[in-house]
Symmetry: C2
Subunit: 564 residues, 2 copies
Amino acid sequence: MNKKIVVIGGVAGGASAAARARRLDEHAEVIMFERGPHVSFSNCALPFHLSGIVENSDDLVLMNPAQFKKQYNIEARVNSDVISINRRNKTITVKNVLTGESYDESYDKLVLSPGANPIVPSIPGTEMDHVFTVRNVVDIAKLDAYVKQDTVKQVAVIGGGFIGIEVAENLRLAGLDVSLIEFSNQVMAPFDYDMAQILHKEMIDQGVNLVVGDGLAKIETNEIELQSGKKLAADAVVLAIGVKPETTLAEQAGLEIGQTGGIKVDHNYVTNDSDIYAVGDAIEVYHKQTHKPTRLALAGPAQRQARAAADHMNRIPHRNTGVIGSSCIHVFDLNAAATGLNEKEAKNAGISYDFVYIIPNDKVGLMPESHPIHFKLIYEYPTGKILGAQAIGKGNVDKRVDVIATMITMGGTLEDLKELELCYSPMFGTAKDVVNFAALVALNRLNGEFKQVPVTNVRELVESNAFIMDAREKHEYERGHLKNAVNIPLSEFRDRLDEIPQNEPVYVHCRSAQRSYNAVMALQHLGYTNVYNISGSFLGICLYEYYNDQVTGREKIVTAYNFK
Amino acid sequence: MNKKIVVIGGVAGGASAAARARRLDEHAEVIMFERGPHVSFSNCALPFHLSGIVENSDDLVLMNPAQFKKQYNIEARVNSDVISINRRNKTITVKNVLTGESYDESYDKLVLSPGANPIVPSIPGTEMDHVFTVRNVVDIAKLDAYVKQDTVKQVAVIGGGFIGIEVAENLRLAGLDVSLIEFSNQVMAPFDYDMAQILHKEMIDQGVNLVVGDGLAKIETNEIELQSGKKLAADAVVLAIGVKPETTLAEQAGLEIGQTGGIKVDHNYVTNDSDIYAVGDAIEVYHKQTHKPTRLALAGPAQRQARAAADHMNRIPHRNTGVIGSSCIHVFDLNAAATGLNEKEAKNAGISYDFVYIIPNDKVGLMPESHPIHFKLIYEYPTGKILGAQAIGKGNVDKRVDVIATMITMGGTLEDLKELELCYSPMFGTAKDVVNFAALVALNRLNGEFKQVPVTNVRELVESNAFIMDAREKHEYERGHLKNAVNIPLSEFRDRLDEIPQNEPVYVHCRSAQRSYNAVMALQHLGYTNVYNISGSFLGICLYEYYNDQVTGREKIVTAYNFK
């Protein structure tokens, strides 16, 4: 008898599972249920409709039910809400949301891919007409139509994660005044606090009214009130605080929910019912590096899980290697990408780590569009095993982060990364690529060849009047420098050793740490025993200090920012 | 006593070795000799001066001797030709090429980084004033000045490797009529013949007069003659046939030369004289995958070798993991990158391999600048170990090839590549990245789930009247299709099975192989036992046939090319 495969949820995970199930078994009956009016839409591309990058919201829908039928012989039933799973009978109850009618449908194998719902906070005003969430094509079309009204000038986006930032950026590109409110002290959790400052600066520079460390308290007709009491004008409000796994159906059916709140699955994405699989944003996954359950609402893993589930139904084995969490985002003129563990996560997982932060150029400086890339590499100490990376810049940051993701997956170390032979031409990179360079600096650290202090500690050094040597040339120093820093260029320091104290710590920086590193190495050989390289250097310091200087009006530690 | 380190050659390898030697030992005496007037120039960026991308040839020089002295305390002596090595006394003899004077200089450790010389063929006319090679800043400035004369309209570039193509492109961008002559049947040896056709098409489309499979026989004042007897107008000729390692000095000194013609070195880049190192384009290296000696004239490996040599002098161990050969090039509007072994190389090395050729989009199709990427993955059969990749397209091809290079270095298999979690957002890629997709297709091959024929065999299929099913929609078919192909769209084939013969092989293609793959899988389940997917599909077929159709005027196998 032919197998009957029923899939609940018709977007990333669901559609992938259905299509793979068809390819593996032409004779199976495959039915896919979707509560909304569209299957197989590009949820990651939704925000780009707001700016017109995706002009027509219909284009976000990649395939309609007729195409599923004709091309894959898959029956896709839209506007069909699955309201219960009857495990004993192996049936589901489906409600047609247009007619209100219900019916039962049997299954041999069931795949749950219900996704996750936007979190709506319990505060006054969320039910109002000018308050939006962004989950599907209908949502984004509604939001787009609303903000296109002449009366709408100011939009508040709540939440500084992927969706919040992409929505904010695309609304800004559409010419609106945008505020972005983030409850924690930084946007984009995959990045550490120091790296996130670069994104903060970009958003401010692009005219976003950025507020971090403050939460939404109340929504009113034309303004919002924050927990601090601050009020902001807002003709429309977008809630992008986060998502919670859609587990109602699974819970009702008595399927096990994991400790993180996602549906619990085994190696093959089978739930505690051997005929029911679960995939995508609704499930709990296993983190390869922390060895703990976690959740990860990303499209790539969802597709892999869906394929694995379909494979398992057809007795095709697969490997479940756990997740590492690789992601990237476009933030106005910047690209940002991250993979594996950041400092916060390594700390939380109790993993012994160290890091380097470098700012090399992403391609040969002579070439058009050569830009600095801010690159932070996290590695296990003392093994040198690679744990994670964060990269931000105008250039090809995703390339570097993908290489690190590959290294993490393969258990690579700094030694492996150092020797890695990547493709090079001046248009594409530098002979010693960013990732090679990071490995070299990290190995020097690992071998105790030099000491470093992070940009996060520089304010304290300045305020305590530490001896800071600025190894840049005089004309660079004059365009902006750390208060108290002594300008002794690398090209002069051998003749000016008498100006560098032997009896106290010496902190050295230049623009991007290359010259300072040479100075640090030389000083050590010359008998200086307490020399530190300032990781991130002047460029990193300026970026790190910028946002907080803007909002707090505190005393600046630089005479002038210099981001060149 | 302080060590005296002498370096011969002041560009990539030499400058790197000197700088690293300084960082590791502030007290060492470091002297670097360079025959030409410049040290530390960007040799990979030379061709970009011809188009004005690098406007001023002086900018190609990254550091001058004064800067080496001031910043690194390295003495860089330019215009200094080292004419002999006296190993017994541990001295070298240096000739000042400006004054003609000679003197001896002693060394404790000597690093040879003499590079490689452009090959000049033994044919009439190479000594003429309008014949150029491109090795250094002086060469490129001379060529640039020459072609800028009003009388120079037509330039012949001999050799279709990296330098030849970059010179041809930059001359073309400067408005000149350019012919490119390549002796073998394709340009760019790192690419297989099928992939090289994509580059051939691009060069033709950009107005380069491309001639492959013909060699230079004679140079005359305003024309060149090829081995075929063909004559081409040429007011200037650039010889970019290839390079040979500069080993004269090493041979005179009795240093061992390897079987490939490069200076022989050990694990630590030490020659058969324990006080003499050799690095860069002049040496023979070990190929990690073929397990054979080879030569590799690339900047990245040269820098790594230089660092390793300096480290070894200071008793710092390193790992010599062998080379895999990663490279990339910009060819007008295309980017092209390759790593590891191609088909030719795997065959020559006697390695059992198979490959897949896919043409997915490099980012979500809705996004601006989403383009197809031609991706060929070579893997060991039957182990699935990853051997190499070639990628060509308008988008981020280097990213994909760098990931494969990392996989090769780490001994990755198709299973590893399939599960690889890369960063994704619609602006940067697709949820299932190009490399994941290639691994999935390859695993299907490895598991015998479907059979394929390459684009190289399609002409024979057409000419022998094989049954070819074109699974595209009718409107696509009508814009151009294979002669004899029967148009049965994926969306219709289940109702038109009676048109598909059971008793002969069925070859299926669509535009980029995705729909044809679905059809192949379904047909197999429906009882068809002899079904083949045409790898590369219609897009690949058109590209493969284009160049030869143009030059031979043979009968076309397509009614019209369709590259969309």
